[in-house]
Symmetry: C2
Subunit: 221 residues, 2 copies
Amino acid sequence: MSSNDDRTTAARIRDAAVGYVGEHGWDRTTSRQIAAEAGVPVGLVNYHFGSKDGLRQACDDWVIAQLAEDKGLILGAGPLPRMDTYIDDHPELRPITEYIAQCMRSGGQVAEHFFERMVELTRDMMALAADGGTFRRYDDPYAAAVILVAYGAGASLFGDTIARLLGGTNLLDTDTYNRYVRTTVEDYTHPLIIDERYLDALDTQDVPPAPAEGDFRKENQ
Amino acid sequence: MSSNDDRTTAARIRDAAVGYVGEHGWDRTTSRQIAAEAGVPVGLVNYHFGSKDGLRQACDDWVIAQLAEDKGLILGAGPLPRMDTYIDDHPELRPITEYIAQCMRSGGQVAEHFFERMVELTRDMMALAADGGTFRRYDDPYAAAVILVAYGAGASLFGDTIARLLGGTNLLDTDTYNRYVRTTVEDYTHPLIIDERYLDALDTQDVPPAPAEGDFRKENQ
DNA sequence: CAAAATGTTGAACATGAGTTCAAACGACGA
DNA sequence: TCGTCGTTTGAACTCATGTTCAACATTTTG
């Protein structure tokens, strides 16, 4: 065991797994890579966790426990890249956020759990902001929070692609970031749909065509 | 070889791969599973495509070619579940849309290509809708399209989770779907942020806190 | 201190997956 | 009919991976 490390061997293996999986995802991670990362022989992984699945379960449980413990973490792992400033102040949390990001891609209980926590938090914050007169109050606040979280997850998962199309290499580069935030805030401040009849139609009759991203039928021109 | 199938063997292997990968993803797909799906022995896969990577490249190229060929496909594979009606009318396209969905999770050139095409189409449709007076005209239409596509991708990737949190099992169930569409249209018709100072601040000084999903600092209460 | 329990090591094993290959098959032209 | 070339077949090979295990080391317990 290395000198300055008061973690137990099992904890070091778990941390190594979270870190490596955060970079490559579970499907591309082998027991030997995790063992090497932790500086232990392969056999120890199964001694402490029974199997690779056991290790995954332990990692999932631990990450979920961290989510419950540290309220800031769920913000730091959240969709808006600006939240990385929180992670910058708490670098020890970065592996967890990356692990969560991997889970959001491949699904599973961590993804579900994180999504749900994110929805709760978003709903509460929207309610607060509505109390303060900054946010609008939705007819269905919970559904609004769910959709907002899904949108944010999309922005987060495709952060690199967004940055590239916006002319940068990293969404946190100043120019790229400003362009992104400017449009995002504009998006949430001024309505995309200026023809109220779409919403009215939903309240009166059954589902009409809903104009939204990537699809629009010019019926009312 | 089965009787009524005028596809070449290579085409049948490719189609089998697209179909199987669409269900399970490349990481969880083996050459033997693809061969079994296509009803051919394993050796034929590498005879026709050189390697598993070669097959993947062929699948990617083919899917991208389909995207260029069939304009409706990019709508059918798009984020809004309502678009599945298009796929219902063209069931032969469903495997492609599911293949694309898998690629959106794991990244790669198909994901990038699809995202870009989606942005182009969204930008054009937003321009059309703006001409028709239905959509607002953005200061930065391209960035708006990029962000809208990312949002839509999030809604698409987390469709099952959204449905579950909205009380259903499938986003296309009438009740769940109505709740989803109602909130989505409301989202795009009425602004979330009703305090214009956030947007104003962006236009005058450097980046202020941007209130959005999952994060809000009560500064202006 | 002795013994037992716990932790650690590295090699060996079994399985599964990608790949290779020699032989068989079938269509087509000489 | 024969030979050739492009396919097809199924087995064998190689390597990586998850797992097991017997031996060794360390810590805890009586």
